[in-house]
Subunit: 432 residues, 3 copies
């Protein structure tokens, strides 16, 4: 066999049973830039637990949109790794997050995924907390019991123009505020916080969460797999190896991007790319890109799915403002709807993808939009991506799998994801 | 965050991946009295295996009632941890227990949960054992083969007034005889051994067996969760924080208990409490307590479920004689029926609860009793408790869970269970 | 308890929790000849991984019959341990095997179990390989990308008269050619490569693969479990303890064997036993044995299941030529059909058994044979054996299980299997 990409860091094809497992630190150390990760990153339950500890419990995680909890007392519960988190809107309309665990004997407080409540009453022995997490009632605990020592444990929460991020760390990354400040002008005009949830779908993927993220970060696979999505996506929108055969097409696409961008900026809609996926702790990327054909929305006919436009928009052709965040989300803001994706790791080989479609809160189903039309493209695309993620998981499970090379033209954001991941894991290990 | 109950034994909220697991010995050492156990006791498969080794394979375990095997040749199989045990009534009416494993190549001998047999014939190559476990036939094994070296492995068994306990240890705890001697006068009048099984129900709980036991050892949760059970239970029967608002009610209840107890003792029915849950190896507790309203039985209308009373009883209002044993059972003996609970651990997060209702063997279904009426209260109660156990398991799985304080008034028996458990585990570790 | 067979290598009945696990090397070292293996060999996921590493990735494994891929471009995928292997017939009719893993980002290439293809096109980003495994197309990879470094990883493959064996080792056992040379005269007359697959059935057994193999290697269990199979099998065909009561029967059977063998050899059909199950790396055994009653085939009426005989046969009574291979197959070649068994380990406690029935490729279903009649005996027998394997797995899971003695008369081939297994595992550990 000729020299392989991993030649500098050889892996025996058939590791002997009982041999010492390569440590996570060593695997991070020898990661070969420009190549997919070694198999243990996708397979090992131990590395999965490290992912939870160093990535999902130390960074800002996108978990929901504000329209899921519109009224005082509305709550949702979200699971992130082993943590169940209760997100409630309190009586002053503030969003709050708590660990969904009673301070008495640890019962889960709210079992439902969503609902509405006055106080938070534990189902086991009825300890009662208010919407700020304060223990306000507990029977039979005696005269010396101190209620103030048994309030709910809080979780950090930030709302960014209708997107809800939480952080399970004691000391969350501090650069979130800067990211938020820079993103706000892009997101604000779409007024997501004033939307309603038109549809939400959860799918389970039999694959590691990083394969789900890597799949999201390139469109090399789109032409062969996404007939519905590629109706509205320009062929060259996500990179290509330049050559005589496509030089004209690329130039034409770049002109369209430049023209559209100038038009939208003139309308007061920030559109230029910001790309800081692997250069900061709270990695992100954004860009408003034109859509093909009718160019209005990511729909089967590329026209708006909802007649009532978002916010104060009167113009339908605003392209798609995409917002990608590390480690677990992406979003497309259009003139008529927002579609938002949250990736939740369940185990080394199982991942939840929650997709939420929002429209103007005054839009009327059946009149202004239909759920079927609104969700058609991404339901189809999600299912196609699920299959690709599962084929990847099945493939990397083989002892014959070796990291392979990324395309320098179409897989740059995959590389950025892996670089960010490896850097943050190294940082986590150093801090531990 | 202010000082927490675990301040003297801090646990980092987010243990770092790859960090050394706290040893079982350390966790036992730092257990904070008066508080629920730390999460690994409910979650860790390693501690679960230690539970099997030190608790379930070294102590007397309640597994069945004698009416399940009334005739010679009747058998049942019970699983305790990884052990399958065959319990048979031999031709002399003695109860015997064997490991349900062939001495040839180890096939499971009896796959059915119950049945009747003449000899014990292995399904694989038909090695044949008699009801005393002796190998009496084996083909093709040659002239030098010694059958007497291949008899079935025995398991210790004791019958206590119709309750069948087994012990998997080579040397079982010796205080069982003393416990039996003291309990016999309480149990004997109900003549369980002369009953028949009217119903048996198994439910699977997605929780650790200790959460099932802890749930059983308090009624703090009853008022909020058990509408059917609390019909016959006095409100103050299982503890309350005393105060001006309930002083009169508590006093009235204590008078009822004293009067009832005196009446039953005068009838020759021992009723006074014996409580040795955490002061001996074979921990137990018993008490005959009055029932509320009609006061006859744990039924929806608190009247007897079976017209034909147990043993020689003519009086219906005998309250409920409860018998709790460590680590895995509780029983309620009433004038008309006995209901018996056996808790079987399946994995760190899965537990089987087997409930058996017995009535007089001459009682006729449809005439003297109906299964529906007999089982209504505890089927409902078991299902409510299952949900509470499962919410607890979900809650302690959170990295945010911390041991919380027990009520000094209503959770004393939970504390006794945990104390017994911790003591026995320490003893097991020391002996190992 | 009297001295047990394992007295020289005692195992505590209840290993203490947290105690050091016996190492695989120690378990291999103390294996007691003539007895079943200790429980960890059937239960431990760690030993299972060692089985994959030392047995299934280092030896020749039977995986398919040539009639499964009759035409150029036909493929099947087979899973062996964690490896998915793609077997294709190329345009020159040669059989080739590749790891079913894309060299780009590791996607599984072919998800189907069988099919037909022109080139091998990865579903993810459409990298394209020809039927010799060469990467012939990859988009967007840039000018410096070297396709010749990204051909598919090959797997060794040998066809032995229509039986397809693969070896995942870099350096496969070299004695396969000798085994093939000696077996070819036995197998060739049946012309399996010119057959078609009439039926294929997969069953899942909840047991360790070695229990499946041990079950196959004796007929001690046949009389009590296989009413369909024993119609065509002579009672003494697989060993018995000799004695006055069966001396005449055994002598008669041996005469039949000698007469049949002489007749078949005279017809040019090699029939004498070759037995090298535990004396070489590529262990095997073969023998052509007479069948009882009509004596033609392993069917319910012992007559041929297919009117069109195999190859150039005109004689129906050719008995059954059996071919057993270590570690994972057995085959019965008769005058009218071949039935072939491939055992695939899935986990310590789960095993796949794939059974394939082949008839002459010109035989017409419904005219020359029916699938129901062809498969009746082995479908019934497989299901009976599955139950026995599952009872064995359940039994050895008990802490009370101890290795028991094999019959010196009926379990010699089980002993040969275990001896081969232990020897090969020791060799694997030494080489590692
Ligand atoms: S566990 Fe919540 S009140 Fe007891
Ligand atoms: S395993 Fe029981 S007779 Fe063989
Ligand atoms: S993984 Fe096969 S082409 Fe990308
Ligand atoms: Fe995609
Ligand atoms: Fe309860
Ligand atoms: Fe069999």
């Amino acid at each position: 066999m000729s020299a392989t990409p991993t030649a500098t860091a050889p892996v025996t094809l058939h590791p002997r049973a009982g041999g010492a497992a390569d440590t996570l630190a060593l695997l991070l150390e020898r990661r070969l830039p420009g190549h997919s990760l070694e198999a243990p990153f996708y397979m090992s339950e131990e590395i999965f637990r490290a992912d939870l500890a160093h990535i999902f419990r130390r960074h800002w995680i996108f978990v929901a949109v504000a329209p899921q909890v519109p009224e005082p007392g509305d709550f949702i519960t979200v699971d992130v790794g082993g943590d169940s988190v209760l997100i409630v809107r309190d009586d002053d309309m503030a969003l709050r997050a708590f660990h969904n665990v009673c301070r008495h004997r640890g019962s889960k407080l709210c079992d439902a995924h969503q609902g509405s409540l006055g106080n938070i009453v534990c189902p086991y022995h009825q300890w009662t907390y208010d919407l700020e997490g304060k223990l306000i009632h507990a029977d039979h605990m005696g005269e010396t019991f101190l209620r103030e020592q048994h309030h709910l444990h809080k979780v950090h929460l930030r709302e960014l123009e209708g997107l809800i991020f939480i952080c399970l760390a004691d000391a969350p990354p501090t650069d979130f505020e800067e990211v938020a400040a820079r993103m706000r002008p892009y997101l604000a005009p779409h007024k997501l916080a004033e939307c309603k949830v038109a549809a939400q779908v959860e799918i389970l993927e039999q694959g590691n969460w990083k394969l789900t993220m890597e799949n999201n970060r390139e469109c090399y696979h789109c032409v062969g797999n996404h007939p519905e999505l590629t109706v509205s996506l320009y062929e060259h929108g996500f990179g290509a190896q330049p050559g005589p055969q496509n030089a004209e097409g690329i130039a034409r696409f770049e002109q369209i991007v430049a023209d559209s961008c100038a038009r939208w900026e003139a309308m007061g809609l920030p559109s230029v790319r910001m790309e800081e996926l692997d250069t900061r702790v709270t990695g992100f990327r954004t860009q408003r890109l034109p859509l093909d054909r009718a160019g209005e929305s990511q729909t089967l006919d590329t026209q708006v799915a909802c007649k009532k436009l978002l916010g104060d928009f009167t113009e339908k052709s605003l392209g798609g403002l995409s917002f990608w965040t590390q480690p677990n989300s992406w979003h497309h803001f259009m003139s008529d709807h927002v579609v938002s994706f949250s990736v939740i790791p369940l185990s080394a080989g199982r991942t939840l993808v929650r997709t939420t479609w929002c429209v103007h809160k005054d839009a009327v189903e059946g009149v202004d939009y239909t759920v079927e039309n609104l969700t058609a493209v991404w339901n189809a695309t999600n299912d196609q991506d699920r299959r690709l993620v599962e084929l990847s998981q099945a493939g990397v499970a083989s002892p014959a799998y070796r990291p392979g090379p990324y395309s320098p033209f179409t897989e740059g954001l995959v590389e950025a994801f892996c670089t960010w991941y490896v850097d943050r894991m190294r940082a986590g290990l150093s801090a531990a």
